[in-house]
């Protein structure tokens, strides 16, 4: 594979398109100019910083450093998903476990099966994708769970009143929430290559890789992500539903119900 050299000047030229976005915002009075400016500045600073961090990790060639970075990603992912799933009581633990297990199991399996070699060059980007997608799936699934519990509270209580455990009363909602967490990635996997080209494949093509190599890598990534998202959604909702119930199998009073 050949590497590509992109100068800062070439990056700066892409700002022309940002100017177009700003012009649309001014013309239609969308008042997004300052947000656009902030987005450009933050993306530049954050990605540049991450670029240096990843370079340093690649140079160190230490799997311990990689594990540390992945742990930090799980931590940030947990807090981000927790902010989005605030309506689920006590969701921090289930989310942390869901993201941690999704990352550990999927990366462990691809290494054990020999899909990727145990090198920072593979583990850092793949780990980032696994944790990012797991975070989104866990947050979507838990949000759906909270909506379901709120909408179905009378039926849940009526079911508890018949002697059902919290697990039995929540079974249907847990399944529906799991589906919500998994469906977006399943749908985008179905349409991949037709409606959109995934980022890793685009990156490899631009970097000069053979198209079939790019496709094979992308397939591995998509299929790994399906496993990660399923595991993350499953753990998040299977553990998260408990937050809505007391140990005496009572539905907790929910804020805003």
């Amino acid at each position: 594979m050949t590497s590509v050299d992109i100068s800062l000047g070439e990056v700066a030229l892409a700002l022309v398109l940002v100017a177009l976005a700003a012009a649309v915002s001014v013309w239609r009075r969308a008042e997004l100019e300052s947000d656009l400016g902030l987005a450009v500045l933050r993306s530049f600073l954050q990605l540049t910083a991450v670029g240096y961090v990843i370079q340093a990790i690649f140079d160190s060639d230490s799997l311990w450093v990689v594990a540390g970075l992945l742990a930090v990603m799980v931590g940030f992912g947990t807090f981000t998903a927790h902010r989005r799933a605030r309506a689920v009581p006590g969701a921090l633990g289930p989310i942390a476990l869901a993201l941690g297990a999704a990352a550990a199991v999927t990366l462990g399996l691809v290494l054990a099966l020999g899909v990727f070699e145990a090198e920072p060059r593979y583990l850092v980007p793949v780990g980032g994708m696994v944790i990012g997608n797991s975070m989104t799936a866990a947050a979507v699934a838990l949000n759906r769970l909270a909506d379901e519990v709120r909408a179905q509270a009378p039926r849940i209580e009526a079911t508890l009143a018949l002697g059902a455990t919290a697990r039995q009363a929540a079974a249907g909602l847990v399944t529906r929430s799991l589906r919500s967490g998994m469906i977006p990635l399943i749908d985008s996997t179905k349409t991949t290559g037709v409606v959109f080209f995934p980022g890793a494949m685009v990156g490899m093509l631009i970097a000069g890789a053979e198209p079939l190599d790019a496709v094979r890598l992308q397939l591995i990534l998509l299929w790994v992500l399906l496993g990660a998202v399923a595991l993350s959604s499953l753990l998040a909702v299977s553990l998260g539903y408990r937050g809505f119930f007391t140990p005496a199998q009572q539905l907790r009073e929910l804020a805003g119900v």
């Binding site: 209580e157 009526a158 039995q168 009572q250």
Partner: protein
């Protein structure tokens, strides 16, 4: 009413069932012995028979669907009907049949006729009067006349205190 079968716990004081603080009892067992009919019907998706069977099936028991329906004033034909597509009055009777299928010692009725019209209310009241020989009933109602019609003992609560 939710305190009586421990769907909630009191902030202070205690609820006793046959002399025992309900917090010392297994909540699932308590809810089978003191079965609740909710204020608004909350049927499970599926047939009436599925709804009636659900409670007993949780502890591995088989419900006598037709007997429970009959006790709640519904004929056998209801068993195969979709519970969510019945009228509110019919659904409330399904809630009653579902509670009776647990063969409880006490029936807890939380304003069971508040969502019903007069004819449906009279029908449910008739059924409740027929049941009073079979089991104890605790009824919460805002309708003093209904309390007089159905209860052997009336307790009035005014702003959370016994009047």
């Amino acid at each position: 009413m939710r305190l009586l079968n421990r769907l909630a716990d009191p902030d202070e004081g205690a609820v006793r069932f046959q002399g025992e603080d309900v917090r010392g009892l297994d909540p699932l067992d308590l809810r089978r012995r003191a079965a609740l009919v909710p204020q608004l019907p909350a049927p499970l998706p599926g047939t009436v028979a599925h709804n009636v069977r659900y409670g007993p099936s949780l502890c591995g028991e088989e419900a006598d669907v037709n007997a429970a329906l009959a006790a709640a004033g519904l004929d056998d034909g209801y068993a195969v009907r979709d519970a969510e597509r019945l009228s509110v009055g019919e659904q409330q009777r399904v809630m009653l049949a579902r509670a009776l299928a647990l063969e409880p010692e006490v029936l807890l009725l939380d304003e069971p006729t508040s969502a019903l019209d007069e004819a449906a209310r009279d029908g449910v009241e008739r059924t409740l009067r027929e049941l009073e020989h079979r089991l104890s009933t605790v009824l919460v109602t805002h309708d003093r006349a209904q309390a007089e019609r159905l209860a052997s003992q009336v307790v009035e609560l005014d702003r959370g205190r016994l009047a």
